[in-house]
């Protein structure tokens, strides 16, 4: 479970995230929705411990910067960041050993096959297309079998078939009881998938929506109402 309490992130005088609190529960897919510059990526990066912030973030009850928390979550960034000189296989070995995950390589193999990368393990990262890099990034985030998964705009660079596979994978991970927090501005992509949604605008959460409480309105309508028509 991911718990965020009163997180504020400033860049100089500018507040990218302003007193933000949210919870991503186990067995649910939580999406962070917002127009460009709303603070979605900053929130995800803060949770992942990549940025300094004011406030408190817990992963399964552990402070997000602790070693215990780091063992429990995986992070998929918007832009895949890999080591150009290493092959897919070497990336997997590196992350498996860094996370001390004994089953990491076996789990990675299964994911590579699902994402159609299994025959490319000898390719170096710089030989991969953006889509392939994104897929490898997902494999690396999931190979240690984390309980919580942070995903920043996950579908960028993926082809339609890969998007379907990833959506299916996310459903399966939810069914395994993992908490998944996704930042996105493409509502349609996750229309059938989300359980909880937080709408961000100018660094603040302006609306929290549970699918069960949605009623007649669609998430898109709520989103546009909250963000005063700004494009997602």
């Amino acid at each position: 479970m991911i718990e965020v309490y009163h997180v504020t992130k400033k860049y100089g005088l500018f507040k990218a995230v302003d007193d933000l609190s949210l919870t991503a529960n186990n067995g649910r897919i939580t999406i962070l929705l917002g127009p460009n510059g709303a603070g979605k990526s900053t929130t995800i990066k803060s949770i992942a411990g990549l940025l300094k912030f004011d406030g408190k973030i817990l992963i399964d009850g552990f402070p997000n910067s602790s070693v215990d928390a780091k063992r429990r979550f995986g992070y998929i960034p918007e832009t895949p960041v890999l080591y150009d000189q290493l092959t897919i296989r070497e990336h997997i070995q590196f992350i498996s050993r860094a996370y001390q995950s004994e089953q990491g390589e076996i789990r990675a193999q299964a994911l590579l096959e699902r994402l159609e990368l299994a025959d490319k393990t000898k390719k170096t990262a710089r030989e991969l297309s953006k889509g392939m890099s994104q897929k490898l990034s997902m494999v690396l985030a999931l190979l240690a079998d984390p309980d919580s998964i942070l995903i920043d705009e996950p579908m960028i660079g993926l082809d339609p078939a890969a998007i379907e596979t990833v959506l299916q994978l996310l459903k399966e991970l939810r069914d395994e009881g993992k908490s998944i927090l996704i930042s996105t501005h493409i509502i349609d992509m996750f229309e059938s998938l989300w359980d909880d949604a937080y709408i961000l605008h100018q660094g603040k959460i302006v609306r929290e929506v549970r699918r069960e409480d949605l009623g007649d309105q669609s998430l898109k309508e709520i989103f546009f109402a909250c963000t005063q028509g700004e494009q997602g």
């Binding site: 290493l86 992350i95 860094a98």
Partner: protein, 519 residues
């Protein structure tokens, strides 16, 4: 043109604003500028008596070294297979905007002047510090040095720009640049050959004659700048004026050539701008740790340690695959310094000072900073200090390689014994470690490497301060009778080691989230 001038000044303002954006950054910037100003001021004030002849010889030597450096830079730039003259942001604005070709080219030239001035000032600050011990520095000499440095850099950059455009417009014109380089370097080579074995005095006298050869005054720009400075030092103002006037004329000529470039180069220039921007962006977000042309060899078996140790394994694997423990530039620099010391007969002590300079420039956090931009580092479940220490291993290996390369030929070239070399190796390794750790603290202080130049300057100030305990220890131990040099240097190593460790601990918060990952 107003829009382009506006763009230039806004960019300049933004660069200055970035340096003064935070109180710490502003204070450090002022301190660094003050430190360099003071260094130059004290260098100029230090007018110990030296014979005029010695002054001329020294200026000749330093100018030849400087000319060699700019020539080397220019040759590398011109010989690049692919290059660009603007970044993506600028390209989209200036090439797509409502500007005439001449306005666009003038804007590029103004940027070239700005770049040349920055390079010139840095180079002059560096040269003055080196020169101050062997040359009587006067205000006119410093100003002339700045002017000649500016002109040489401008010539190098402008010529590169002209060849770039020429090749875009007429691909076959690339032979012109090869021809130009061949003639220029060939002529300099001939001057060198003409001085070989003239009086049977060996390499030392060959180089001394080469440095003073008046034929070098015929080398465009480089020879003329040297001639101007020699004219100034030997109070021959006519020679000085002729040197500068000729250089200015050539620079004006190349400016006119660029302003009158014809043909359609916009499309390729934009494509090149896209390419260079992507390279830089990749380097920033660590998609790429080097150029896309970097050679990578495959490794059959990779083994990884566990936890933070996996970082060490990963970096060593990259080192094995890229084989870039030592750069060609470092090897060349070491060889040049060794050559200078050998020629001047300055001895091993002086050489150690040069090696420390090489170590200072080599002990950068470039490799570490690349890792700091990759999020895996922060996510790996291990203690921050362990992870930071793991990152230091390849950089320390690099330092050890530099120390080894610097010292391995000393017994043969400088005739020093192993009892001198081993303490020196300890001292250098200790300082390498200190420089590296200090770089990390700078990185933490400056938050981002958006101003690597400023970081380098701050690092210098830091390192000077951090070296004080070493100095006190070594000087104090020298008064202990009968203590061998090895023991003194071991104590020095321990002091620098401890200070380095303290720096490492100070830099650890870098791994608890920082703004390097904010891009």
């Amino acid at each position: 043109m107003n829009a382009l001038s506006y763009l230039f000044f806004v960019k300049l303002k933004a660069q200055l604003r970035r340096l003064f954006s935070k109180p710490t950054s502003a204070i450090v910037t002022l301190l660094v500028v003050g430190f360099f100003g003071f260094s130059i001021y004290s260098a100029v004030r230090n007018r110990e008596m030296m014979s005029a002849m010695m002054n001329v010889q020294s200026v000749q030597g330093w100018m030849m070294l400087f000319c060699g450096y700019v020539l080397f830079l220019m040759t590398i730039m011109i010989l690049q297979k692919r290059s660009a003259i603007v970044t993506r942001d600028d390209a989209q604005f200036i090439f797509a905007g409502p500007f005439t070709r001449k306005q666009t080219l003038a804007y590029l030239l103004i940027e070239t002047v700005e770049g040349s001035l920055i390079y010139a000032l840095i180079a002059v600050a560096y040269i003055l510090m080196m020169m101050s011990s062997t040359v009587i520095l006067t205000v006119p000499l410093v100003l002339s040095l700045i002017l000649s440095s500016l002109l040489m850099f401008y010539f190098a950059f402008a010529l590169f720009t002209w060849f770039y455009f020429l090749e875009l417009v007429k691909p076959r014109a690339k032979w012109l640049k090869y021809g130009f380089l061949a003639v220029l370097l060939g002529f300099i080579g001939l001057i060198a050959i003409r001085n070989v074995g003239f009086d049977g005095g060996g390499i030392q006298s060959t180089i001394t004659r080469f440095v003073a050869d008046p034929l070098f005054n015929w080398v465009p720009v480089f020879g003329w700048c040297k001639m101007a400075l020699i004219g100034l030092v030997s109070q021959d103002m006519t020679t000085c004026l002729i040197g500068f006037a000729a250089t200015l004329l050539v620079c004006a000529g190349i400016t006119a050539l660029i302003l009158n470039v014809k043909g359609d180069f916009y499309e390729q220039a934009i494509m090149d701008a896209e390419w260079i921007s992507e390279l830089r962006q990749n380097a920033r977000v660590r998609r790429s740790s080097g150029g896309t042309n970097e050679k990578v060899v495959s490794v059959k078996q990779a083994r990884f340690g566990s936890g933070a140790a996996a970082l060490v394994s990963k970096n060593l694997l990259i080192l094995r695959k890229t084989r870039r423990l030592l750069s060609l530039q470092e090897v060349l620099l070491i060889a040049i310094y060794l050559g200078i010391v050998w020629m001047n007969g300055q001895g091993f002590g002086f050489y150690q000072f040069f090696v420390l300079i090489v170590l200072f420039t080599s002990a950068t956090t470039d490799r570490i900073a690349q890792d700091l931009r990759v999020f895996y580092l922060y996510l790996i479940p291990d203690r921050p200090l362990k992870k930071l220490a793991a990152l230091m291993v390849p950089s320390m290996l690099h330092i050890v390689a530099v120390v080894f390369a610097s010292l391995v030929f000393c017994p043969f070239v400088l005739g020093c014994s192993w009892t001198e070399i081993i303490p020196a190796a300890l001292m250098m390794t200790g300082f390498g470690w200190l420089f590296l750790s200090a770089s990390l603290v700078c990185l933490r202080l400056m938050k981002s490497r958006s101003t690597p130049l400023m970081e380098q300057m701050i690092k210098m100030v830091f390192c000077l301060i951090l070296a004080i305990p070493y100095g006190i220890t070594v000087v104090a131990l020298m008064f202990v009778p009968g203590l061998p040099a090895l023991a003194v240097q071991l104590a020095g190593l321990a002091v620098n080691g401890l200070i380095g460790l303290a720096c490492l601990a100070l830099a650890t918060p870098l791994l608890s989230g920082n703004n390097l990952m904010a891009d």
